[in-house]
């Protein structure tokens, strides 16, 4: 009898726990319906299978719940001719297809790819058995918030802002906050935003104008192209890669909303190049940053080198193509267009190979082993 009672209590508790998980505090404000996604410029995962979508066209951040998507084994994923596959699925030509981002759910390793068709239609796809499945967005559990224009907020209705656009360049989730970097079509400004999550009616809006003085004596105001929140010497930092290719670190504690926050430039990654994605991976106890670029191979930077580099680069690199600061290794992967971590010790990429084949594949873990 005791065993039966224990079993029944355990059963009831398991349902209770299950119910709590289904309606966690993070998803308490979620509703099922059409979130009105009009573009998918950037994606990142938060906890509990929450996928954040940066929608520049509608100036909104949408959190969708994909935790119930079936878990599939992507450990051997390899999709060749990815652009042709997507073009076939959309009934269009390859030049009408643009892959805008890729994100891996860290909890079940499901892979999501966002695509824009030339008509402006956004499409969200999930990898399943080396193929792609569409994620319907017309009725999905979600929560969303508007990316507010700081000027509009301060001087309501005075200016005609119809021409203003702000494109999300990168987005990451950390400790209850969604962090955003982007570029306006009007001002060249290093705008960095922080939104509380779960989103609230009263949005805790922060606009951080970050500048760095690494390039000789002139400010850059360059926008952050891609970034990652991480730990350096045990403390929370943001490592940001800029359009002008310096790699800059900012202690999170020092970033004050509404102020110009001066970062410390730790590396130059080469001119004529623009960073695309930055991720963190581990091999044993060794942590690495991997950086994908437009005109340089995939770069690997050892965190221990980053942590011991305490200087700030203050002089411009004058030798053409030269780099400076924290050392890094160029890995034999060129034209990596999308990059994300696959678990703690793996990485996944979409790469245009020298043959012209656009492929989704794993990077060999051999390259991040000591």
């Amino acid at each position: 009898m005791k065993t039966l009672i224990t079993f029944l209590i355990a059963l009831i508790l398991s349902f209770t726990v299950s119910a709590v998980n289904d309606d966690s505090s993070l998803k308490a404000n979620f509703t099922t319906g059409d979130p009105g996604v009009t573009s998918i410029n950037s994606m990142t995962f938060g906890p509990e299978g929450i996928l954040f979508i940066g929608d520049s066209k509608s100036a909104q951040i949408i959190a969708i719940d994909v935790s119930k998507d079936p878990k599939v084994d992507n450990s051997k994923v390899k999709i060749d001719h990815l652009d042709k596959l997507i073009a076939d699925m959309l009934g269009t030509t390859i030049d009408q297809v643009q892959i805008t981002d890729m994100a891996v759910n860290p909890e079940n390793k499901n892979i999501y790819i966002s695509v824009h068709h030339g008509s402006g239609t956004p499409v969200l796809l999930r990898v399943e058995n080396n193929n792609l499945k569409q994620i319907g967005l017309a009725s999905i559990s979600h929560s969303k918030t508007t990316i507010k224009d700081p000027i509009n907020k301060e001087v309501k209705d005075k200016w005609d802002r119809e021409l203003r656009k702000w494109a999300v360049a990168d987005m990451k989730y950390t400790s209850g906050k969604v962090l955003l970097s982007g570029l306006s079509n009007k001002e060249f400004a290093s705008t960095f935003r922080s939104l509380d999550f779960p989103f609230t009616e009263k949005q805790n809006y922060g606009s951080l104008e970050i500048y760095h003085a690494a390039h000789g004596k002139y400010e850059t105001h360059a926008p952050i192209k891609t970034f990652i929140p991480t730990k350096i010497k045990g403390k929370s930092h943001i490592v940001a890669a800029y359009t002008c290719t310096p790699l800059v670190v900012f202690p999170m504690d020092d970033i004050k909303p509404g102020q110009n926050n001066k970062g410390r430039t730790v590396a130059e990654l080469g001119s004529g190049n623009s960073p695309l994605d930055i991720i963190e991976v581990k091999s044993g106890e060794t942590r690495y940053l991997l950086i994908a670029n437009t005109n340089r191979p995939l770069m690997r930077m050892d965190f221990s080198h980053l942590e011991t580099f305490e200087k700030s680069l203050t002089q411009p690199v004058t030798i053409k193509g030269a780099t400076e600061g924290v050392a890094y290794v160029n890995m034999p992967f060129v034209n990596v267009q999308q990059l994300d971590a696959y678990g703690e010790d793996g990485f996944l990429m979409i790469q245009r190979e020298s043959s012209g084949n656009l492929t989704l594949k794993h990077g060999s873990s051999w390259w991040i082993q000591k």
Partner: protein, 352 residues
């Protein structure tokens, strides 16, 4: 339904297929509708391209939804069918083909305006705006815009490469950034590659006809716009030298503001406003004239007598990205260029 056609466009040698009753269907840009066969599958498959039957087993069908009623099945693709794109449709084991031809009188995309519109521009020019006749296709759009020098050579790494195009909501106005890293002195790209434009030289802005509209249709011709480069603009816009032509009361006459230099098109339209002394916004519309150096405000209602204020957002920029608070590449060690944090500036005038 303009393109509603009910014909079988292509004939392929597939004996098995043609031994069966041919499909009866209609189609448009947004759907294909078939006569429903009783007691048969509801499943319509549409494939990109004209595929022979032996290739269908490995082909990936187009994504879409099927809407059924008693007599028809309708397949709606998630993006509209493309012009001049051939498709294969399979229903009830019968294969057929369709294509929507581009109409002869299709209005092709064209460039309607270029800003800055002046023929002489400062060497540290920062932005261009291209206004198109209809919404543009944003896929890799910056690959189709380039600058050439007087010899016709393309300038390398002139444009800031952006994955996400900066296009206004109507889909017609595109912002093109000249690589700020090259235009701003002392940055690494500037040191290593030099500024994009040289003083005294002539250039062309080219929009290649490969650039498509939102329907996926090319422009008919390349677009070319010539300009000459003069010395860099290293002065902030000075509103104290602006001249205001004040309209008469009880009229809808224009308020005309002479800025004495070309202003940044995208910046200026959102950075000026007129208000009365009670801080109430005076409604009206703005135009730019004389190569964006003259601002014209036409009120919606007749002017009242009294004081008015021209309010200028300090983010207003000139062609080189200098705004009312700072130069685009000010020397951070030079205290004389300390940035102001003022949000707006005001010029008062009296309607009398």
């Amino acid at each position: 339904m303009k393109y509603l056609i009910c014909i079988f466009l292509f004939v392929y040698s597939i004996p098995e297929v043609f031994s069966q009753t041919p499909l009866e269907f209609t189609f448009d840009k947004d759907f294909i509708s078939l006569q429903r066969k009783s007691n048969t599958s509801k499943d319509i498959k549409v494939y990109r391209g004209g595929l022979s039957e032996d290739k269908l087993s490995n082909a990936i069908p187009v994504l879409g939804k099927i809407i059924e009623n008693e007599t028809t099945l309708r397949f709606i693709p998630i993006v509209s069918f493309g012009w001049d794109q051939e498709y294969t449709v399979v229903y009830n084991n019968v294969v057929d083909y369709f294509k929507i031809n581009l109409p002869d009188r299709y209005e092709h995309l064209s460039v309607e305006a270029v800003y800055p519109s002046a023929s002489k521009l400062p060497s540290n020019l920062l932005k261009w705006y291209l206004e198109f006749s209809k919404p543009i296709n944003q896929t890799r759009i910056y690959e189709h815009i380039l600058f050439t020098n007087a010899h016709g050579d393309t300038l390398d790494k002139a444009i800031l490469s952006l994955e996400n195009a900066l296009v206004t909501d109507n889909g017609r106005l595109l912002t093109v950034w000249i690589d700020p890293g090259r235009q701003k002195r002392d940055l690494m790209p500037n040191k290593q590659l030099g500024p994009v434009f040289e003083e005294g030289s002539k250039y062309s802005l080219i929009v290649q006809k490969k650039l498509k509209d939102r329907e996926g249709v090319l422009m008919l011709n390349d677009f070319s716009h010539q300009f000459e480069i003069i010395k860099a603009d290293r002065l902030q816009p000075n509103i104290n030298v602006w001249e205001i032509e004040i309209p008469h009361p009880n009229t809808l006459s224009d308020l005309i503001i002479h800025c004495k230099e070309s202003m940044d098109y995208g910046s200026v339209l959102g950075s000026v406003a007129i208000q009365n002394t009670r801080k109430q916004k005076i409604k009206g519309s703005w135009q730019l004239k004389d190569h964006e150096s003259i601002l014209i405000f036409t009120p919606t209602h007749p002017w009242d007598k009294g004081k008015c204020q021209l309010v200028i957002n300090t983010q207003l920029e000139d062609l080189a990205g200098n705004n009312l608070n700072r130069l685009f590449d000010s020397d951070i060690n030079d205290v004389s260029f300390m940035h102001s944090s003022i949000k707006e500036r005001i010029l008062e005038f009296v309607i009398e």
